[in-house]
């Protein structure tokens, strides 16, 4: 029963695990770049969730073919396209913030920065 | 009861607000500024006085302004009791303005514009409290009064004054919070906050515990009345300039507290509820305790203003005692005492201020033989002190007489004894001052003279008036009796 569920829904387990890893990177790591890496993992795991939820067994990519066919759900793909752009933009802003911080403090370790800014 | 709509109550409030604005604008020219202050005072008294005939004929004056919150309007209703308080506050403002001019100029005080500005705002809110038709309006003015008197209390801006100011705020804002809670609760249970002659609590199915809780929170809420154990802000607030102590801490602020307490006892809870729940008697004993203990405290004070402050605490409790006895005589005595105490205490404070200005002396122990230098001031002081003790032909006698009758009527002998004992205590803490001032020789030769005329004239006039009231109390008594009739007739 449990195994059956895991086989049928392994995609969720994977995304959740990935997301937790990202989450740990964001709140557990002290290096700002590692935080950003965590952030990216965190965001992209959500995209995995969306895209896997759009799957229809035996479906093909949602580009119309001549003959009738089963297509996967196109809407989550659309949403994720937007969300990817958002994630990339956030990362860009985050990285430029990191550069600012490095210029200011000369380090990327959060504890050292906190000490320096006192 | 017949009500007529008129703008007068609104105007009476507005006049001093406008006055405050003009004071602020003309702050750089002292003469014009004080001119406006005086003008606002006189106009205000005129407006308030113009309502006397209407109220004496048994009508009410109403003015409903807009709804601040839905169903909770700013509304004024002038009845006999409110008018009495309004008259006292606005009439004494004129004298106090004159007196302040003398006081502030002689002492070359700083920030005089702020002083007169805040004074005018405080007066507006005192009148607003007097004429409020519901608890909501009353609360608004109550809070404005607290805020606007704060700068007056800390006027001298020394660390000591700032500390006193913090204490003042702590007590009054806390009490404001309690009052707000009580108002919301009353509104929640009854759907109205209007004052009514029979009270509004009865017949709403409020649980008995809740009524008692509400009464307690209401009474904490009227801590401006300075009954024990919520009194200690008042002696601290004596650090304020004397005109402030005189008008605000002997008339406007504390009387506002007493006024609110009375309004709540008689017009929110109503005589029936108060007597059925036994709250009235409990209240009477609390204030009786205050009367005695505050008098004892007064005995120990060497600073004249502080002694007067404790005397105020004790005397204010007379008023609430009278009201809490719930008989016509008691209520009459209580309400009359609002008037009498106002004139007597303001005289005493004016005198204390005159001593400070003329001689720089605040301590009683330093006032030996002062009567030789300042005979007029000292005579006025004696008049006030006699009144406090309830000597016949002074104003204080009238109210004390009614209170004594009431205590006999409800056959509460302990209260009767309290009243008598307090008379003795009054003698005990005032007469040594007088005797020393007249008969004791000063340690050193004294070189000062009477205070300036601006100060001397007002204090002599208020002393005179407190005697006039004692001899011919008919007019104010008529006003009070209308208030009492309304209450008793309304139940």
């Amino acid at each position: 029963m449990v195994l059956e569920m895991i086989f049928a829904k392994y995609n969720y387990i994977i995304y959740i695990t990935l997301m937790t890893i990202g989450f740990y990177g964001m709140i557990g790591k002290r290096n700002l770049i590692k935080k950003l890496i965590g952030m990216s993992i965190f965001q992209y795991s959500i995209f995995l969730f969306y895209v896997s939820a759009a799957d229809v067994s035996g479906g093909t990519a949602p580009i119309l073919l001549k003959e009738p066919a089963v297509y996967v759900n196109p809407l989550p793909h659309v949403l994720i396209l937007t969300a990817i752009v958002v994630a990339v933009s956030t990362l860009a802003v985050g990285l430029s913030l990191v550069i600012r911080i490095y210029r200011e403090y000369g380090t990327l370790d959060e504890d050292k920065i906190l000490e320096l800014s006192k | 009861m017949e009500t007529i709509t008129s703008f007068s109550p609104g105007l009476a409030v507005l006049v001093s607000l406008l006055g405050a604005l003009m004071i602020l604008i003309s702050g750089r020219r002292p003469n014009i500024r004080e001119g406006f202050s005086l003008l606002a005072g006189i106009t205000k008294f005129g407006i308030v006085a113009s309502m006397i005939p209407v109220v004496m004929s048994g009508k009410l004056i109403e003015l409903r302004l807009w709804d601040v919150l839905p169903g909770l309007p700013i509304m004024f209703r002038v009845d006999a009791f409110g008018l009495l308080f309004g008259l006292i506050a606005s009439f004494l403002w004129i004298f106090t303005t004159l007196y302040s001019i003398g006081y502030m100029r002689t002492l070359k005080e700083h920030a005089q514009t702020r002083f007169f500005f805040c004074f005018a705002i405080a007066l507006s809110s005192a009148i607003g409290i007097a004429f409020s038709a519901n608890l909501f309006t009353l609360f608004i003015f109550f809070e404005i009064l607290t805020i606007s008197t704060y700068p007056l209390v800390v006027h001298i801006e020394t660390p000591e004054a700032m500390k006193a100011g913090r204490k003042y705020l702590l007590y009054l804002l806390t009490s404001g919070v309690f009052l707000l809670f009580s108002i919301i609760a009353v509104y929640h249970y009854t759907g109205t906050t209007d004052f009514a002659f029979g009270g509004i609590i009865a017949g709403n199915g409020i649980p008995a515990n809740m009524v008692i809780l509400l009464f307690v929170t209401f009474m904490i809420g009227s801590a401006k009345a300075a009954f024990m154990p919520f009194h200690s802000w008042l002696p601290s607030a004596m650090i304020a300039p004397t005109p402030v102590s005189a008008l605000l801490h002997a008339v406007a602020v504390v009387k506002a507290g007493v006024f609110v307490a009375t309004r709540i006892i008689l017009y929110i809870f109503g005589i029936d509820v108060m007597s059925e729940t036994g709250l009235a008697l409990a209240m009477a004993y609390v204030v009786a305790f205050t009367i005695i203990v505050a008098s004892l405290f007064a005995l120990t004070q060497d600073n004249l203003k502080k002694r007067l402050a404790y005397s105020t605490i004790s005397q204010l409790s007379y008023i609430i005692l009278g009201v809490a006895m719930l008989t016509p005589a008691g209520i009459t005595g209580g309400m009359m005492h609002i008037l009498n105490h106002a004139f007597m205490k303001i005289t005493l404070f004016f005198c204390a201020g005159a001593f400070i200005v003329a001689s720089g002396k605040e301590k009683i122990s330093e006032m030996n033989g002062i009567a030789k230098q300042m005979p007029f001031t000292m005579i006025a002081f004696t008049v006030g002190a006699l009144g406090m003790a309830g000597t016949p032909i002074t104003a204080g006698f009238i109210s004390k007489w009614y209170l004594l009758i009431a205590s006999v009527e409800i056959s509460q002998i302990p209260l009767l004894l309290v009243l008598l004992a307090s008379t003795l205590l009054n003698v005990a803490y005032f007469f040594p001052i007088i005797i020393n001032a007249f008969f004791k020789k000063p340690e050193r030769e004294l070189s000062y003279k009477e205070a300036p005329l601006f100060m001397l004239v007002p204090l002599l006039l208020t002393a005179l008036i407190s005697i006039i009231i004692g001899i011919m109390p008919d007019e104010p008594l008529a006003l009070v009796s209308i208030a009492v009739q309304n209450l008793i007739g309304g139940t």
Partner: protein, 91 residues
């Protein structure tokens, strides 16, 4: 200390999400609500309504075109932000 707190909150986070898993539709389930309500119309009618065979494109630019406008704004914002953040103060 802080590390353990982070691990603990990660665990809670993981547990909450896993709690919901059994209730989610199985992967590839054609009967899942997501595939039943709005999506079929896109598949059936997007070609006649927009003339693009790629349904994703059709939705992206047509049905949900304003999301895409938002997307461009995001890029624009990010570009401006990076410019703003990285350019050193003008002396």
């Amino acid at each position: 200390m802080r590390r353990y707190l982070a691990i603990l909150s990660c665990f809670i986070f993981w547990a909450i999400l896993v709690y919901g898993v059994p209730d989610l539709p199985a992967i590839g389930d054609p009967e899942a609500p997501a595939n039943k309500h709005v999506a079929p119309r896109y598949i059936e009618r997007s070609y006649e309504e927009s003339g693009v065979p790629n349904i994703v494109t059709a939705i992206l630019t047509n049905y949900r075109g304003y999301d895409t406008l938002g997307e461009t704004i995001v890029i624009f914002t990010a570009g401006i932000s990076v410019m703003l953040l990285l350019r050193r103060r003008e002396k």
